[in-house]
Amino acid sequence: MDEIVRFENVGLRYGAGIETLADLNFTLFPGSFYFLTGASGAGKTSLLKLLYLSQRPSRGVIRLFGEDAVTMPRERLPGFRRRIGVVFQDFRLVPHLSAFDNIALPLRVAGVREKDLETPVTEMLDWVGLGDRSSARPATLSGGEQQRVAIARAVIGRPEILVADEPTGNVDPEMAIRLLQLFEALNTLGTTIVVATHDIHLLSKVPGAQMMRLEKGMLADPTGSLRHPPRPKDQRQ
């Protein structure tokens, strides 16, 4: 596959207001690592919503895994969503489920048998440093712990694309580096990573990553003009 995501003249408008996103043209390639930056209100979360199929654009074409995601029948969306891992900005953990059950949720939704999910979920809990909090409910976890559960839930199903909205916003710098290392490890295994962040210090932590910057709903390069789309890994300088 040459590309995993392609946006062509994509615009998004909520209700009758002005366009939150406008004229987005870019392509994401399999196995690449992207940072999406921009000021608050620039449209980062809206762009991610289009990526993880929570919204359809008001105009333009989005091709996802080689298929048109805009006209795709609603019944086919669950199958595509299972190929995308999402770390929500507000975590969106199910409050009455334990950390274990929250992390296991994508596997159960996908129909994985109980005996087959015990080991990966336990390993994931250990990896994010919550091995001893597996039965804790989100309300009893700190913000950083909740964020780690959210990240573990997003990556447990080995998604083809991982979309993360401010994934390190609530963790200490050491944990932030560990989480980025997890994302890099996944990236090495072939997962395309898209991380939205306003923390420019993170960008230097992943040397091979490319950057997309949003300004007032439009894609711009760091100098302020509209940026060129990211290139495949083998064409990077």
């Binding site: 199929l53 609603r74 669950p78 969106r92 059950d101 159960r108």
Partner: protein
């Protein structure tokens, strides 16, 4: 149905189920209680109409109206003799005077009426089949020579207005069953929408993780079906207790149409099935409501 209840415990935890903790089971219990009473009334009236119609449609009464008691008795005896010889007649019974007085006692009191009012002689006929109007005419002609003033009336004629009234009540009862079913469905729709609102965030997350509408609706179906079954059983127990008490009181009332009011075994089967039918109604309503609501979101 079995698949519905075979949802694993960890999936059921997604939408917490609290038995008897919300209003839903109690609303269903009241609905099923009223449905059981309305259905029992409708079924009992159906049976009563059937029994009374069967009993009376092959019976007739001969009235001999004659002021002179001697002539009246002579005519009654001759008429009975003539009727016994007819092939259409299975049984002839001349009602004794004290039985006739007992029949009119509720209206005219228990004084010695025979001396004051010229009561007609009554002959009760059981016929071999339900006669046609022509056969009634031939009966009247057969009695003309022995009792010129004799009237032959089908017994069902007396009770036609009562049967019409009971039939109206029967349809009202079944209409109530239908309205209660609609009200139950409406209560389920409100409950399902409320549950959807309560668990809106969980549903959104499950959707975004790749959950299908069917996976989500099964959780609500199960929860609401169990609420409905539990409430239905409570309503059934309450309704059955009331029916039992009423049947005791009806039995104590005595004879006539009232004594025919009762439930046979298939009526009890229908009543026992009401909670199950209520559960299926709730389940289907919940499924349609939830899937309809989910289709409105991406």
């Amino acid at each position: 149905m079995f698949k519905l209840f075979a949802i694993p415990a960890h999936d059921r935890r997604l939408i917490p189920e609290g038995r008897l903790s919300g209003p839903m089971p109690w609303v269903i219990a009241i609905m099923i209680f009223l449905t059981v009473l309305a259905a029992a009334a409708g079924l009992a009236m159906t049976r009563a109409i059937g029994d009374v119609s069967d009993e009376l449609s092959s019976r007739a009464t001969v009235q001999i109206i004659e002021a002179n008691p001697e002539i009246r008795n002579r005519q009654a005896a001759a008429a009975a003799e003539r009727l016994r010889a007819l092939p259409l007649i299975e049984e002839v019974r001349v009602l004794p005077p004290d039985e006739i007085e007992a029949l009119i006692e509720p209206w005219l009191g228990s004084q010695d009426l025979a001396g004051d009012i010229p009561l007609p002689a009554l002959i009760d006929l059981r016929l071999v089949r339900v006669p046609t109007e022509a056969e009634y005419q031939s009966l009247r002609r057969a009695l003309q020579p022995v009792a010129a003033g004799a009237r032959v009336e089908p017994s069902s004629g007396y009770i036609v207005p009562v049967i019409a009234l009971v039939q109206s009540l029967q349809w009202i009862a079944f209409g109530l069953v239908g309205l209660l079913a609609l009200a139950t469905a409406a209560a389920v729709i409100i409950s399902a929408r409320s549950a959807l609102n309560t668990h809106n965030e969980t549903i959104a997350v499950v959707h975004l993780l790749g959950g299908t509408d069917q996976q989500i609706s099964r959780l609500f179906q199960r929860r609401i079906a169990l609420d409905a079954l539990l409430g239905g059983l409570i309503g059934l127990v309450g309704g059955t207790a009331i029916i039992w008490l009423i049947s005791i009181q009806l039995t104590a009332l005595g004879s006539g149409l009232v004594q025919s009011v009762g439930l046979d075994w298939w009526s009890w089967l229908i009543i026992a099935a009401i909670p199950i039918l209520g559960m299926f109604l709730a389940m289907v309503t919940a499924r349609l409501t939830v899937i309809g609501a989910l289709k409105k979101i991406l």
